[in-house]
Amino acid sequence: MTPATRYTPVAIALHWLLALAIVGAFGVGLYMTSLPFSPARLKLYNWHKWAGVTILALSALRLLWRLTHRPPADMPMPAWQARVAHLTHGLLYALFFAVPLAGWAYSSAAGFPIVWFGVLPLPDFVPRDKELADIFKLVHRFAAYGLGLLVAAHVAGALKHIVIDRDALLVRMGIGRA
């Protein structure tokens, strides 16, 4: 049996949905922190938190799917490039969890628990504590910057395949035909 050339439709859908959600949440995160105290700021903070928890939940689903479904074979490329690509993927997955979890912990420690979509109160897994809040705020922020850099590296790698290698990499993620 030859390995599939594409990820499964579920994996492809989760990839693009989460790509959109993560870029969106990242942009909102950068913007909202620059706003003065206002209803708009509070609204965006809540939306950002709801998006973050949604990203966390979908990432859990995605990881489960990834572990139970075989991905397509690597494109032909030098071994070191394959290693860098796999390392980037691994770190991306780690931060899909670390960034929202740190944000959640920051919310709890700051005394503003998350109520998902204004309906479902989420538990606090860290106590309310000012110093802890400051720490998680920093962790959330720099983990998010790290995720931003990894996404940039991931996109740059894909562009390299499209522009320089002119191979069919994007077919794996549902774009174009083999």
């Binding site: 105290f37 209803p39 509070l42 609204k43 809540n46 005394g111 503003f112 628990p113 998350i114 204004g118």
Partner: protein, 181 residues
Amino acid sequence: MKRLLLPLLAPLLLAASALTAQAATLQPEKSDLSFTFKQMGVPVDGKFKKFEAQLDFDAKKPEAGKIAFTVDLGSVSLGDASFDAEVVKAPWFDTKRNGKATFVSTGIKPTGPGKYDVAGKLTIKGASRDVVVPITLASGVASGSVAIKRLDFKIGDGEWADTSMVANDVTVKFKLAFAGL
């Protein structure tokens, strides 16, 4: 002698104390005044650090009791620096022009053992509303809670009046310890 004296004196002391309604003094370090509201579904707690109360109360004649309560609005804290800086501003408590909130009782009605309904006038930011506060009195501590609507007092005016952002319902909770009650 001592054993004889105490049973004799106790009823006398009780009788004496029943003759006059005592003016009790608030013990701030044992008292709490806090509130809870929802911001986009998220419960937010705040508290006031400075408040005073004048209480004249006799459990035998609760109807004759009086309570006057004053809150220093500037002593508010929501446990978050950016919220604390905001809540004293004009759209909220406007503490520059309205430093105090007051509650003055107009009548006390017993509703059960150690339980009373205290009717009175609550004034915040120049607006007054008649409210009835159910309290429980036990070992010198009056505790209870009362639900108010923040917009009745223009707390969170203008762009903050949107109740889908900050709910109109605010629950005020108190635990007031009195000496000499």
